[in-house]
Amino acid sequence: MKAKTFAHGIHPPEFKDFTAEKAIESLPPPEKVMIPLLQHFGKPAKPLVQKGDQVNLGQKIGEGQTLFSASVHSSVSGKVISVDYYNHPGGSPIPAVSITNDGQDHPFSDKEETKDPFSFSPEEIRQKVKEAGVVGMGGAAFPTAVKLSPPKDKPIETIIINGCECEPLLTSDYRLMLEAPEDILRGAELARIATGAKRIIVGIEDNKKKAFEIFQDKIQDFSGEIALLKTKYPQGAEKNLIYALLRREVPTGGLPFDVGVVVQNAGTAKAIWDAVSRGKPLYERVISVSGQGIMEPKNILVRIGTPFKNVVEFCGGLKENADILIMGGPMMGIVQWSLDVPVVKGTSGILAWAAPRPSLEYACIRCGRCVENCPMTLVPTQLAKYVKFDDLTAAEKWGVLDCVECGCCQYMCPSKIPLVHWMRVGKNRIITLKQKKSA
Amino acid sequence: MSTKSIGQEFTKGLWDENPVFRQLLGLCPTLAVTNAVINGLAMGMATSFVLIFSSLVVSSIKKFIPSQVRIASYVVIIATFVTVADRFLAAFFPPISKSLGPYVPLIVVNCIILGRQEAFSSKNTVGRSLIDALGMSSGFVLAMLLLSAIREILGMGTFLGYQVMGPWFEPWIIMLLPPGAFITLGILLALALQIERKAKSWK
């Protein structure tokens, strides 16, 4: 079978050996959790509890406000000690519910649904997913219920399960695929039912042969297929994944809906299954704790709201020389200034290592490597120049808004120009300008 | 109306408002004919002649010229003196006339001259206009001399036709060609700007 792929992209070192063969361990619930009310793409949830309230495991503590929002659930049972701003891995403080764990936290009551989950109607599935506060687990944390509600005029044909995990170091999805393949496929089946799609395609990179074989075996029971993809970054980016599998291009500014596709991360598929089959809210997730700066890299199942500190301590702590801490992958992850931030729904990994000395920035020597590797076929160096000199019209015309911030350009840049930074600046300025205009 | 002293009126053309280095006017002849000092000098003199006499005439008849037709009148006046210069050169200095080619008639469109009429002579007295024209002419001749001296010395190893470089010197032919003119002028402009900046920082 020939591995499929897209044009451009890069091959950063993988470093997956740290954790690839380590089975998922469970982190004991911490004494205190801080659960941010915004852990997703969209508006923050409205708090449903007050200081002093007693909450149970899995109890809804924040209600999703609008369509683009998701509910938040308690990950322990105990007492609410505050509802206030708290550190957030995104950078700026966000309102969060702090809960002390009373240790009563018996495992989640697996009250089996009396009804066969596959006989639910699309509307029922969406409702249960929404109720459970499921969001995309790949990192962007887009509310899953929204993704399962395609507009009427855009019939969905295919559900793609994203098993690429193209970011270096991360292995949480890989472990899930090895340890719970049925749950992922069942979740995919539910997504198929909810969107009315005809088939499921699971895309797996060819550096995860083991997972690929398991899935090839398990897929027999479902109406779908497994596709082998070339190991390449950013193979897991939605638009590039769709192109690699179906040779369809999502139009600029559009969504996968526009080409009849819904993409779900493997972890998300499992969360959908848990939510629909057992009514289990999304209050824990699997993360990879890895990197040269971590004593014992591991894959662990963590309650949402657990401080990074507890997670890192569970993995033997940081090495002396570790001086960079990242939530997410090394290509798109966000640096953390402290270990005192909580794990959120979008946390796919916690990485640490000794950062190399920052390299000197040279003038652009127009080598064209950013152009050659941009998965969106943009011209990053030109865009950066337009943004730098505030020619936003040109920047927009040259497609700055289509940038997915994957970082391929900056990874390859021999002049070490912070291209992604300029893209973000450009996008921000253009969007702010547009909001001002429409206001 | 200008409020400068007579001395300032003259010296401004040499540096502060030097037509070539500071105002970047009249660059066409500056680039085209400065491949030998004699040509540069002749061009400078011819231009000076036209500038001085046009300024005199324009400043003395400025009262009679309605502003709607002033440019047309200036051009006629300038063209008259240009033709005189051209004929004079052709009659008495045929070799120079030949090597300057069409650039003498082209003095008509030299911005320095029309510019001074418009900016100065049409607003000032005859005396002041004369001083201004003399200053500007000197500035222009100076620039032409400087440029053509550099180009002739490097391009032929001579100055006004006299050998100044030793026999070891291999002439830089590029300096006689248009690129040499651009490169020399560019470097001189950069120097002028630098000197100006330094002078400002001292003040």
Partner: protein
């Protein structure tokens, strides 16, 4: 005075004054300019046809004039052919002195050229180029010797020298010479050359 009238009056008078002034200047310099030109041509003719005392224009067309050089008795002893053609950069005008049979070139002079200074412009230089044109046999086509030689003795009588690095300019001159000789032969054959052309076979 109305503005429009004033405009007309001013422009007319400025124009009239300039015109009359220029007419005077033109009149005063006209003769001298013509004289300059004539002298230049005469000088060139005497230079290329040695030993003559006067000359007479025998033929003229665009880019080609033929002058007859006369000795003290008024006999034509040689032709001076003024011809122009395209060089490397611009038009080249030259004066070619031949004997009356057009079979021998006395000398060559370059009247006007705008070739690359220091390179193609050497065609106007005796030491590098014109020296090699003296006393050439022009009964057939003259050819260029490549690469350049350093003394006329190294050339065949029907050959002329090349300028190192300026082959195109050298070729251009050669071309003008060969073409004009051909043309003049034709003109003589057709009997269009007025004046007494002697010794023409």
């Amino acid at each position: 005075m109305k503005l429009s009238t004033q405009m007309v009056v001013v422009l007319t008078s400025v124009g009239l004054l300039s015109g009359s002034f220029l007419a005077t200047v033109g009149h005063l310099t006209k003769e001298r300019i013509a004289l300059n030109k004539q002298r230049e041509t005469e000088k060139a003719i005497i230079q290329v046809v040695p030993g003559i005392v006067s000359s007479q224009k025998l033929y003229e067309e665009r880019d080609l004039s033929v002058y007859g050089g006369k000795d003290a008795e008024g006999n034509i002893v040689g032709f001076a052919i003024q011809a122009s053609g395209i060089g490397f950069q611009d038009k080249i005008t030259l004066m070619l002195g031949t004997n009356t049979s057009l079979k021998k070139i006395n000398r060559l002079a370059i009247l006007d050229q705008k070739e690359t200074p220091g390179l193609g412009a050497k065609i106007a230089n005796s030491e590098f180029f014109l020296l090699y044109w003296e006393n050439r046999d022009s009964s057939g086509t003259i050819t260029l010797h490549k690469p350049a030689v350093s003394s006329p003795e190294e050339l065949l009588p029907t050959e002329v020298n090349t300028i190192t690095g300026a082959t195109i300019s050298s070729e251009a001159v050669l071309n003008i010479v060969n073409t004009s000789l051909e043309q003049v032969r034709k003109i003589i054959k057709e009997g269009k050359l007025t004046g007494e052309a002697q010794d023409v076979n």
